[in-house]
């Protein structure tokens, strides 16, 4: 259709799509799904790190962690707002999450078992997230692109803080080094999986790229992440748990092994180590908080009614 052609031309010309502009239903749906998942990931992402707030080893680290978790909740808020511009409310998206109909990043279905995990999440998980989010700053949908610009600034800060946690551990006692290596062993592969399945198995990539929702393929991003991260691991003195990892002079990047995609799909399906706990925690927060939300709403209504009566 001419509408579709004009739409595609705007995208090809690098002009942002704004909420009131015409857009194909598929474009809208893809964005709602993706931004919703992204928002949910920020919200659920509070849980694995929140697990260590009361146990952070110094006041400074506790403050940094609190600030980070606060940022994540804030990112969730920006993203829900961005999705709302597409005509779906935060409450609707929340209901979909709690009903298990909408996903969140599978990485948050792994448990945080030691303090080093907080470092590994910042360094690897936020590192992988940024790799993905940097390209999303150029997303064709204006509100999402702008949310991403704000988010990326904070995320790179988080990544540096995570790296710093591991730096101190790696320069510390033998037990601390062991803790760091253990975290590396457990978080490396799940982090690689964060980019999603290989392009050949990815359903949405081609169309998303045409629409300017995505600027790079899963495999490209994964390669970039590995190339960036391996030298950092070397610097830290951590061993990457991949026997196939090798520098490839020809391609100017690392060759690396294939993640266990069975595990990936199993976790996506809901069978990861913490899927149940994460969703239950969010459900409990939502259900236990109903009285709070209702109470404030009732109060606002009373105030409004009193104001109307006074006028």
């Amino acid at each position: 259709t001419p509408e579709e052609q004009a739409f595609q031309k705007r995208i090809d010309d690098g002009i942002k799509i704004e909420p009131k502009d015409w857009m194909p239903e598929g474009y809208r749906k893809t964005l709602v799904r993706q931004i919703g998942q992204h928002a949910h990931s920020e919200v659920v992402g509070q849980l694995p790190e929140g697990n260590w707030i009361t146990r952070a080893p110094t006041l400074e680290r506790k403050a940094i962690l609190l600030a980070k978790v606060q940022d994540e909740a804030g990112h969730g808020l920006y993203l829900y707002c961005a999705a709302e511009t597409l005509g779906v409310s935060r409450d609707e998206m929340t209901e979909q999450l709690l009903a298990g109909k909408s996903k969140y990043s599978s990485i948050f279905n792994y448990p945080t078992l030691s303090w080093a995990d907080i470092g590994a999440i910042g360094w690897l998980v936020d590192g992988a997230a940024i790799m993905n989010q940097v390209q999303l700053q150029r997303c064709s949908y204006g509100p999402y692109s702008r949310a991403m610009i704000r988010i990326c600034k904070e995320e790179s800060f988080h990544q540096r803080q995570g790296f710093d946690i591991l730096r101190v551990l790696c320069q510390g006692s033998d037990e601390q080094k062991e803790m760091a290596q253990d975290a590396m062993n457990r978080w490396w592969w799940p982090s690689l999986m964060m980019f999603g399945p290989s392009d050949k198995d990815s359903v949405h990539t081609a169309q998303s790229m045409r629409w300017g929702i995505k600027q790079a393929t899963n495999d490209d991003l994964r390669q970039k992440f590995v190339d960036q991260t391996v030298p950092q691991a070397d610097w830290l003195g951590l061993k990457v748990p991949d026997p196939e990892l090798k520098w490839n002079e020809d391609k100017g990047g690392y060759d690396f092994g294939e993640p266990d995609w069975n595990e990936f799909f199993n976790v996506v399906k809901g069978n990861g180590p913490c899927n149940k706990e994460r969703l239950e925690a969010r459900r409990k927060a939502w259900d236990d908080g109903a009285w709070f939300r209702d109470g404030l709403m009732a109060h606002a209504e009373k105030k409004r009614a009193a104001k109307v009566a006074a006028e």
Binding site: W115, K284, G295, L296
Partner: protein, 250 residues
């Protein structure tokens, strides 16, 4: 008698620290995303306050103890926070009421401390009071909104008030340590602080349609290291890493 100035700094710092622990437990579990953010933010402020007061206390003590040493290497009987801040997160109503009652004392206390004869105390409180003004604006609004909300929200807030009110005795208590510091102008006279607390809570609970319980029951002792049975569990969790891996950097 312990050094009064050091004791005062520890009491201020311990209040902030233990309240931050309870606040931090909500992370990811609050009833609305805005509350997740607010609680993390409040926890962050409280940890900042902990650092300021415990640093000052450690310096005044002169034994080379850092804020971290004081936070992570003292034992239960050495903690001097009031019992209010260690009370558990039964529900979000308890968390809000605990915060509000604490704020209602904290603000006039800090207001007095900004007039302290001690320059360091003036400096810390001038910084902290800005955050606490923001805290009480929030906690007061929520207490009023939820008190004067639905039947259920009122019942929950009233329940929290009934349970937590006895602990305000600990907040408002003063002993010879305070007398000494008051005499030297380091801390304010308790009377106007109590008056401000009473005026603040009376107005707020009236607006919130909540009633202060008149059982006469009072709970005190936290400022002298006598805590409720919750405290040991808070510390076991908080101090676990430092206790398990002594002497390393983090």
């Amino acid at each position: 008698m312990m050094d009064p100035f050091v004791t005062f700094c520890l009491r201020m710092g311990d209040n902030a620290l233990i309240l931050a622990q309870r606040t931090g437990e909500w992370c990811g579990h609050a009833p609305a995303l805005e509350e997740d953010i607010a609680f993390a933010n409040m926890g962050l402020d409280l940890i900042g306050q902990t650092q300021l007061w415990l640093k000052l206390g450690g310096e005044a003590e002169g034994k080379g103890r850092s804020a971290d040493d004081l936070a992570f290497l003292r034992t239960e009987r050495q903690f001097t926070n009031c019992q209010l801040v260690e009370q558990p997160n039964v529900d979000f109503a308890h968390a809000l009421m605990r915060q509000y009652l604490f704020d209602a004392w904290h603000l006039p206390m800090l207001d007095g401390l900004t007039q302290s004869s001690d320059e360091r105390v003036r400096a810390v409180s001038a910084k902290v009071i800005k955050e606490v003004r923001y805290h009480i604006d929030r906690s007061r609004d929520l207490v009023i909104g939820l008190g004067d909300g639905t039947d259920e929200s009122r019942a929950r807030m009233q329940g929290a008030l009934d349970e937590l009110w006895p602990f305000t005795a600990d907040l408002l208590a003063s002993d010879e340590i305070d007398d000494d510091l008051t005499a030297r102008g380091v801390i304010p006279d308790p009377a106007p602080v109590i008056e401000a607390f009473n005026a603040e809570t009376a107005a707020t609970f009236a607006a919130a349609t909540l009633t202060v319980p008149h059982t006469g029951l009072t709970r005190t002792g936290g400022r002298n290291g006598i805590h409720t049975e919750h405290m040991g569990f808070i510390l076991a969790e908080m101090q676990y890493l430092q206790r398990t891996y002594p002497g390393v950097s983090w």
